[in-house]
Amino acid sequence: MTEPFHLQAKAIRKSFGGVEVLHGVDLDAVGGTVLALLGENGAGKSTLVRILAGDHAPDSGEIVVNGEAHAVLDPIGARTLGVRMIFQELSDAPALTVAENISLGRWPGRRGIVRWREVRERAVRALDELGVDIDPAAPVATLRIGERQAVEIARAISDKARCLILDEPTAALSAQEVERLFLAVRRLRERGTAIVYITHRLDEVVQIADRVEVLRDGAVVLEREVAGTSRAELVTAMVGRAVGEVARPDDAGIDGTAAPVLSFSGAASDGAFADIDLDVRGGEVVALYGKLGSGTAEVAESAFGLRALTAGDCTLKGAPHAPGAPHEAIAAGVGLVPADRQREGTFMVRSVAENLSVPSWGRIARKGLLRRASEARAYKRWHDELSIRSRNDPEQLIGTLSGGNQQKVVLGRWLERDSDVLVLIEPTRGVDVGARMEIYRVIRRLAREGMGVLVATSDYEEVVQLADRAAVMARGRIVGDLDGDAITTERLTELAGG
């Protein structure tokens, strides 16, 4: 290889529906380096990289590849130039094998007859280059999510990708899978591939990237070498204001002698967790921290009737608590904020007011009759209290709110329902930094009002910023308890890793 591959975007502008979302943005991706593209949701990252991948046409500006300028790229043109994007939602064919997926759409062969041997060899070569150990003959559906992602990357490599765009690739990965992904990314960098790595996780920027570019509101606000750049600088650039970095909540510390509202003793569920002893008191936020797959989400689910205990006990306000289904858990006074807001939390095509009152319908209704006025009252009450940013119209569809505001509505549900215990699973996954802080404030408020809050999370910064107490889980067991200011990112990662 002579010249390193060089992809430049110059003064890219792009509008949607009359609103400009990119105001003349530059980007430089150089072969053999990793560029982290950082920014909150809606900052324009996705639009920018979609333009690079030929998915959108820019309104003005140009894309220069190795000195050759292009005003517009279409997906095929971008591919021919070696620019490939790996989307968050994988675009593989689950029923086909790994090898078939890698050759998908460019079958080797003549006159429409596929040469299967070459399909297989191609796959072996690409997987080797990535340094991953995956059976080319396995159907993709049988792979883990990280492996499927690796197959997609292998497909790109095998198609001679020289610039690889990864859109928040670690969002759904476990810790080990992230390690493997990083190894693969480093290998590709050594081979001279240019990598654009989109993320909003700061620790990933430090771990993997050489350069970082921060987008905010459609403009580049920072662009420099990662070495010598502090996390605080990056956060400030992203959010546009200084944000106290992983500060402890200032209202932490509560009466530790009160009787617990939710309590596990020796609780176990087959294959998911065992020997769980955990108390949650009214008025406190207890975090259950562990890497993905450590069992934290499963413990949370068991309190909501989604999973049965096979040993040990669970009590709610002193009484045995063994809900067989969510409606029983809700009736007993437990609420749940699920991890996947879109799939399990919100009713996208229904109004904000309705989304806010769903679990309370049984209470609001008289003899099965439900008046919109009572829903509107619930809406009025929480709209201001939770500072939900909307058109302030109870009938507005929740799907038109931003992710963070949708999550506030989902939280508000359980305030309206007046639950005693709220269980949250990964409450800020996919929520940007600014909105995250607001959600933490709402969660702390719920606790101040006397609710017992249990947060199952794999985000240690979240634990530090949110919890009064924390239990750390690994492989289905609690491996450590932390209290108050003993909750630090260092202690959490140390315990969870062991």
């Binding site: 949607f16 529906g17 009359g18 609103v19 979302v21 909150e40 949701n41 809606g42 900052a43 639009t47 509101d217 909501f304 289904a325 969510p326 409606h327 858990a329 809700i330 009736a331 749940l336 699920p338 799939r343 399990e344 939390g345 919100t346 009713f347 996208m348 095509v349 229904r350 309705e354 769903v358 679990p359 319908w361 049984g362 209704a365 099965g368 009759l369 439900l370 008046r371 919109r372 940013r389 909307s390 058109r391 302030n392 119209d393 009938e395 507005q396 569809l397 799907g399 038109t400 709110l401 931003s402 963070g404 505001n405 549900r413 940007d432 600014g434 909105a435």
Partner: protein, 334 residues
Amino acid sequence: MTDPDVLSGGAVAAPSAPPPATPTARRRQVPETAALIFVLLALGVFFSLRSEFFLNYDNFVNILTAAAVTGIIAAPATMLLIAGQFDLSVGSAAAFCGAVLASLALHNDIYFSVFVAVLAGIGIGMANGFLVTVVGINALITTLGTLAVFRGLTQVITDGQTTSIDRFSGLGTSRPLFDIPLPVFIFAGVALAFWFLSRYTVFGRSMYAIGANPAAARLNGIRSKRVIFLGFVLSGLCVAIGGLILASQLGAASPQAANGLELSVVTAVILGGASLAGGRGSILGTMLGLLIIGTLNNGLVLLNVSSFWQTVAQGALLIAAVSFDQLRIRLTTR
């Protein structure tokens, strides 16, 4: 990112809200039924100009009478589709109820026979509901199966012959008020009941929630299986009423009664704005959809278009309505 008039509302959407202008926000300014009313009026104007027989009271009563049975069955079907469910068995189930009535009425009291026929309808609804919620078969397949089963059983009961029913013409043909047949009043009553059910009851709202997001409905304590089961039972009940009216109008139970009724029902419901993706739709919309189909059929008859072409028009209308729904889903999920 939002319309200027939206921004001036005071509270502002987060500046980071995703791109283009939100079609949902703009669409809300105009009621969704406005387009349907427009189409209905346009059809009315068109047929009035083309046929001197269209624009008169008796013809309007004809349109409503022809739509009554479909409407009685389309009301619960709307609720089911809102919850993401289908009932394709309505036509054959209606014929079955008529056949049960006719064969019992030969040797029994008419009231007893009616009672059993209604129970039969409810029973079919329960069977559909059981298969969908407890056994867990997709509603489309379940009711496609029961469609065949009950059409077959109807032929078994009637031995493939049209069986006449005596002393049962009142339900279908009496005209209690303004020279309007009783089925039209029943239709209005059923529509009103389901309109109320869909808007003001926990049951109705749960249907919307289940259709909008089944997983979230469960996690919010909605007992989806119960609600859907009840939806199918209501469908069975209305199918029985519709089947009895048909039998009464005909004075007989025909093994071919209500053949293809499911097509008319599904067309009306989807034309009325109920989304195949679930969570959206309204009784009012369905009723407008029904009137559009009714007016179209009536107008085509007046224009001497063969009834074969009416079937073609109805099928085309269904496809057009679904295409429109797809377009809307695509616009709103951007």
